[in-house]
């Protein structure tokens, strides 16, 4: 049995991922956003259908004019208004499709599997010895996992990003909100880890 890849290869890989993602796709990288798209696949497909049937050209111009008139009235719609200034820099790229998001999520699992098999370890279903020592097995362990999943999902939704979106993408761009979010969840993780180490002796 070989050892896992050196720790720094993971650091390099995680550091390169949002950078390459941005260069290639011109989009900020965040795993929770990709998973969120899979969760709301019904809405995604509905919007994709809507976009495919969207009017263009003169039909769109006529619809926009009518909607403007209806929303603001003739005086406002025909009055002199400043045209919105073009945005500086290159625009963002298009959002990934549902299948692209699904492929990424599947590839994350496959990557972990490859790393494990590469190290000469077999595939074992379960959370490992440390988890079993901490939380046991069966229903109590499942309850802990369920509660943890709910907390992660709720926290990600409230913070509008996860450890990749805030920790990798946002922090590398020195976004204040992302730096604060990362400090909070990393700090909480360290505290819980230390608590478990003290309580269970991990």
């Amino acid at each position: 049995m070989r050892s896992y890849w050196p720790w720094w290869t993971g650091a390099v890989g995680l550091g390169l991922l949002p950078l390459v993602y941005w260069i290639v796709l011109r989009r900020p990288f965040g795993v929770s956003g990709l998973i969120g798209r899979l969760v709301s696949v019904g809405d995604e497909l509905s919007v994709a259908k809507e976009n495919a049937a969207a009017p263009t050209g003169e039909a769109l111009d006529a619809l926009l004019a009518a909607a403007t008139l209806e929303e603001f009235g003739r005086e406002a719609a025909e009055g002199p208004m400043a045209v919105a200034a073009p945005l500086p820099g290159r625009p963002l790229g298009p959002r990934l499709g549902i299948l692209d998001a699904a492929a990424f999520v599947v590839a994350m699992g496959l990557g972990g599997l490859v790393a494990r098999l590469w190290a000469g370890r077999t595939l074992v279903l379960g959370m490992g010895d440390s988890f079993t020592r901490s939380f046991g097995s069966g229903l109590p362990a499942l309850s802990v996992l369920l509660a943890g999943g709910v907390l992660v999902g709720a926290g990600t939704s409230l913070a509008e990003g996860c450890s990749t979106g805030h920790g990798l993408t946002g922090s590398s761009r020195l976004q204040p909100g992302s730096l604060l979010a990362t400090a909070c969840f990393m700090g909480a993780a360290m505290c819980v880890s230390a608590l478990l180490g003290w309580r269970v002796g991990l």
Binding site: V47, A53, L60, L63, A67, A77, A82, V83, A84, L92
Partner: protein, 72 residues
């Protein structure tokens, strides 16, 4: 340094409708009212905050432009 004001919607860079509304002066009333003022009331902004997918032609008032009539 960005030239956008503090009241400009933070999603203008990712909004697919914003550039379209900027193409014609007659549509500037949308950006003046929503994108550069009350963007918190924009249906697109609200949907983005909720993490929902946004139709390309959904107007800030929530109506979707379609051939055969708008739909809310």
């Amino acid at each position: 340094m960005s030239e956008t004001s503090a009241r400009t919607c933070p999603n203008t860079a990712t909004c697919s409708l914003f550039p379209r509304l900027g193409l014609r002066a007659s549509l500037g009333v949308w950006t003046a009212f929503y994108c550069e003022s009350k963007y918190e009331e924009c249906a697109r902004y609200k949907a983005a905050r909720a993490g929902k997918p946004i139709p390309d032609l959904m107007l800030p008032n929530g109506k979707i432009l379609r051939i055969g009539g708008e739909r809310t």
